[in-house]
């Protein structure tokens, strides 16, 4: 059973990486959340009945874990000064500039908005988003519309 589970997680691990990136700021916190999600997936695996897609099941558990997990208290540092190009890290963790910009923008949303938009970006339908999050299909549409507007504003500023 463990082999099946590991193959499944291995194939879809990008989902977990993306969720960790939007819900945690530092590499250390992202690694902690990644471990928590894998553990929760393994605990939930015996109840997985193939009634939904593997990716849908993984998204549900992973987002649930990210939203329920306790965040460490950190001192908020708010610095707006522009960092000189020579000190700017190039492609941190192998991410392209676009990816960095995308994660930075999504990180500015509220935890619930991050959950909804991540599902939308993954091309889930309003119906599927509603089923995963527990909100109504109509409301999912309304929320996505608002979050898209919010993201557009963040990206243009």
């Amino acid at each position: 059973m463990k082999d099946v589970f590991l193959t499944m997680v291995d194939t879809h691990q990008a989902i977990i990486h993306k969720i960790c990136r939007i819900y945690r700021d530092t590499h250390e916190d992202q690694e902690d959340l990644f471990q928590e999600i894998i553990y929760q997936l393994w605990k939930a695996f015996p109840d997985f009945r193939n009634e939904s897609k593997v990716s849908t099941w993984m998204y549900r558990i992973a987002l649930n874990t990210a939203l329920a997990a306790f965040r460490k208290n950190r001192i908020a540092l708010d610095f707006k000064a522009t960092i000189s190009e020579e000190f700017h890290p190039v492609d941190s963790d192998g991410l392209s500039e676009n990816e960095e910009q995308m994660f930075a923008a999504i990180r500015k949303l509220t935890p619930a908005e991050k959950a909804i938009i991540s599902l939308y970006l993954e091309d889930y339908s309003y119906r599927e988003i509603a089923q995963i999050t527990g909100i109504s299909e109509n409301y999912a549409g309304v929320r996505i519309h608002r979050i898209k507007d919010k993201l557009k504003t963040i990206l243009t500023n």
Binding site: N64, N98, S118, I135
Partner: protein, 181 residues
């Protein structure tokens, strides 16, 4: 960056890949970051209480205290440790519903119950210690001051614990509210 570009960046996002043996290690409870800390807390608290209960009979004249005071102290200690165990099991499974909203609501309810039992068990254990130390004792002004100091320290500790739990539950309820608009 346009929204469509953002969507395509999301779908094509390349991330560092973990191999199967790394993933396999992460399925083990010993690697869980939160449970690891809870386990450490439990081991430290249980060890300190065990040492205390082993030595309190001689060190604090347990034999001279009435039986009921001894029972109250031991019961208070066991209740306190029992609560740690309950918390450990609860944090093993925060995902409990068919959808995220239902699951978070259930988790929030369980967290409230744990917060109440945690603060109550700490209060009862503190009271049990004060009762134990104050039985069969001739109170002098110094002893009374020490007792009042113990009570005050306990109340401050309980207040901080209550604030900590309130913040955690408040954060979670905030997420539930955000989800439902």
């Amino acid at each position: 960056m346009e929204f469509d570009q953002l969507k395509s960046s999301w779908q094509q996002s390349s991330q560092p890949v973990k191999n199967k043996s790394e993933l396999e290690m992460m399925t083990k409870i010993s690697r869980h970051p939160v449970l690891k800390k809870l386990r450490l807390k439990f081991v430290i608290e249980a060890s300190l209480l065990f040492i205390f209960l082993v030595f309190y009979n001689d060190g604090f004249d347990g034999a001279e205290k009435p039986l009921w005071a001894n029972i109250v102290l031991i019961a208070g200690a066991l209740l306190f440790i029992g609560n740690d165990v309950a918390g450990y099991f609860m944090f093993q499974k925060p995902v409990m519903g068919k959808d995220i909203g239902t699951s978070l609501k259930k988790f929030s309810r369980n967290l409230k119950r744990l917060a109440i039992s945690s603060v109550s068990s700490a209060f009862l254990f503190g009271c049990a210690m004060i009762i134990f130390f104050s039985t069969v004792i001739d109170f002098t002004p110094i002893k009374l001051t020490l007792m009042a100091g113990m009570f005050l320290a306990m109340m401050v500790g309980l207040y901080l614990s209550y604030k900590n739990w309130s913040r955690r539950i408040g954060d979670l309820n905030g997420v539930i509210e955000q989800l439902n608009g």
